[in-house]
Amino acid sequence: MPFTPPKESYSGKVYGVGVGEGDSAVTVGGENVLPFHSFEGETPNKPIIAYEIQDVPPSDWPKDVQEPFKDVSGDPVQWAKFCQDTLKAKAIALRLVGTHPDMEDRSVEDAVKTVTDVLGAIEVPLVILGSNHAEKDAAVLVAVSEAAKDRNCVIGKAQEANYKTIAAAAIANNHKLIAMSELDINLSKQLNILLTQMGFDKEKLITDPMSSALGYGLEYTYSVMERIRLAALTQNDETMQPPMLGDVGVYVWKTKETHAPESDLPEWGSLPERGIAWEAVTATSLLIAGAELLVMRHPKAVDAVDKFIAEMEG
């Protein structure tokens, strides 16, 4: 019985979304096959990892992931430059977590200044994330969109509760937009439809189906991503064709596995390595499920995932 490789051709394609400017601009997505299936179609762009930085010092990050940034993390500009110049980041994700009312409740003006300063210091593309407080984000993200006008940033996250204002600002200032919904393919589809109905170009969207960490609901994110990607490719469902975001670091570095010292749980092994592996394995799984843009924290985890991507594509 001769073997004929059962290759598939897909009717749909993932939009290629360009972010940033000049030589350091990158394109996320663009493939017309399942993740890493370069044997049966086009995968023109490698997945991109953005280093996560924030507007306030990362005092709630575990020690192991604070450590690599300890000399720069007091100042978002230094932090961003360190990621770009020393760590060779291909993109940076600035999370304005300090604007959250339960954190420092930093003002819109503070946020605008941080974004302006960071943008002034780097060339690589910038992802600008709010604090995930729907109301505050509406105000903060509108203002920072303006401050970053025409820099082709990614703004996020627009959610059901605040998408109108944030999307309008992204349109007015020529940015790409992350649309986030909660672990449900239908909610994700619905939000994309609402956004396109208000005039947002669907080819400028990035879908965030909501991430989760290894061991803490990863299987839900994994399967929602696979289902979104299958809908995009096999059913040519245009509302499911934006590339996807895996917001990895923020979920991973909350888990007990990235905190608990080996002395408490000897059977879990060395803590620094465990935390890094937790982030790298979560990220890899989401890439395999369909994410094209990752937001990550630990340089060693980022390095390993970059090597993995090279092996996948090579």
């Binding site: 299936h37 061991g215 596995e257 060395s270 395999i288």
Partner: protein
């Protein structure tokens, strides 16, 4: 593809004698096609038809067991490409490689690490499942010595013997009689001798090829030699090759009923860089490997890989859950605190783990919410004041305690008033939001 009802009907006696319990041969054939009845029910079916139908009704990926006894691992039998379609059936086996060029101390240490690898996560016992014995030396004596060492120290751990030399394999297999090992290393050059050695020892044959195409030729040849149990290595080593070959192989087996590739697969993920190795293993876990071979099994790496395997292989329809009841943690006295949570396994094990950490004997009432987490269950209307009140009353816990105070999760603080209304005479206390604050919370109450 399995045979259609009509195709099966053509192979039946067509007498409509009803001895099978169905009114007609066609009705019986239709049920057979849906795998809802057994061919044996027809006493008159010909041997030839039996053979043809047996072949067609066999699972598309052959079930094979690795090892014997409590630590045996089932492989194959998968039915879908994506986990949301249906549960992935048999979690892949993780195997660590020991080379026969390593000295005895290093080898013993690895064997011990395998024996010590078991971890309990969310109620499941997870471990490194198997050991690969590699004949890197090319010396039959060394492989045999390693086999004796492993069989002596870890008699229950399944093994895969890796060699290109059938005689060396034969000698090593002697240490694992009746234990269903794999003899890996059959290629176009040595297939006959390796097949004979595997058959004689009752071992599964591991075939290594340079492509899925060559692999399918070799499995056919082995089958012609009478070998039924095979694991397949397409030769893929890089991550991109692994996802490609594993995908093509599983598609061929499931969608084209291509029998020559309808066997479990073995993937070699071995890398110098242990973290990168973990990511290649992750590819195999997510994408269709049945056995994955690692070079090292540090505890941090095991934990991450076991957890990923558990996540990928859970049932997408039914969350992992625990039994509804009031659990005693420690030996709670009549005045010990009473906590309530939902029966999602992850929730239960996190909360009970933190209560154990507090070392304060406690009762934990676990309510059936169809395996949903606290907030999900609340949002889905399954963790409501009425249902909580009813559960507490019916649980009989009132007979075992002398107080009337129930501690609820901080995330559902909003329920406290309503529960007090429904549970007469009870006081509701709102606990912390995150379980990791429970030890401090319970201790401070104790002190007060």
């Amino acid at each position: 593809m399995a045979l259609t009802g009509v195709a099966i009907f053509k192979l039946l006696p067509k007498t409509n004698c009803k001895k099978c319990g169905f009114p007609t041969c066609l009705a019986f054939a239709m049920k057979l096609a849906q795998r809802q009845t057994e061919l044996d029910l027809c006493p008159d079916v010909s041997d030839e038809a039996k053979a043809q139908l047996g072949e067609a009704s066999a699972p598309p990926i052959r079930p094979i067991t690795l090892g014997a006894g409590d630590k045996a691992v089932k492989m194959g039998e998968e039915t879908v490409m994506f986990r949301h379609e249906k549960k992935f059936v048999n979690p892949c086996a993780l195997a660590v490689e020991i080379k026969d060029t390593e000295d005895e101390a290093a080898a013993s240490e690895k064997v011990q690490a395998v024996l010590d690898s078991e971890i309990n996560r969310v109620g499941q016992f997870l471990r490194v499942d198997a050991i690969v014995l590699s004949n890197d030396s090319g010396d039959a004596g060394k492989l045999e010595a390693l086999a004796k060492l492993v069989a002596g120290k870890a008699p229950d751990v399944p093994v895969i013997i890796s060699t290109a030399d059938a005689q060396a394999g034969e000698a090593a297999l002697k240490s694992f009689e009746g234990k269903k090992p794999v003899l890996y290393g059959a290629t176009a050059d040595n297939l006959d001798a390796m097949a004979a050695a595997a058959k004689a020892a009752g071992a599964t044959l591991g075939i290594k090829a340079g492509s899925p195409d060559e692999l399918s030729e070799l499995t056919e040849k082995a089958k012609a030699q009478g070998v039924e149990d095979i694991v397949m290595d397409s030769g893929a080593r890089k991550a991109g090759e692994i996802i490609r070959d594993n995908t093509l192989i599983r598609r061929a087996a499931l969608k084209k009923s291509f029998k020559p590739l309808g066997y479990p697969t073995i993937t070699f993920a071995v890398r110098e860089d242990s973290l990168l190795e973990a990511l290649v293993v992750a590819t195999g876990i997510a994408k269709y490997s049945s056995i994955i071979v690692l070079s090292s099994i540090e505890k941090w790496k095991n934990l991450a890989l076991f957890t990923l395997r558990q996540n990928i292989y859970t049932d997408p329809q039914v969350p992992m859950q625990v039994e509804q009841k009031v659990y005693d943690i420690g030996e709670p006295a009549k005045n010990a605190p009473l906590l309530i949570t939902t029966n999602f396994s992850l929730t239960y094990f996190i909360v009970s783990g933190e209560v154990e950490n507090s070392r304060i004997p406690t009762r934990l009432a676990v309510m059936d919410c169809e395996g949903l987490s606290v907030l999900t269950a609340w949002a889905a209307g399954k963790f409501t004041a009425t249902k909580i009140a009813q559960f507490i009353k019916e649980s009989g816990v009132e007979d075992n305690i002398e107080h009337r105070e129930l501690i609820i999760p901080g995330y559902v603080a909003i329920l406290s008033g309503a529960i007090e209304d429904k549970l007469e005479g009870w006081k509701i206390t709102v606990g912390p939001r995150e379980a990791n604050a429970l030890p401090a919370f319970l201790k401070s109450r104790e002190a007060a």
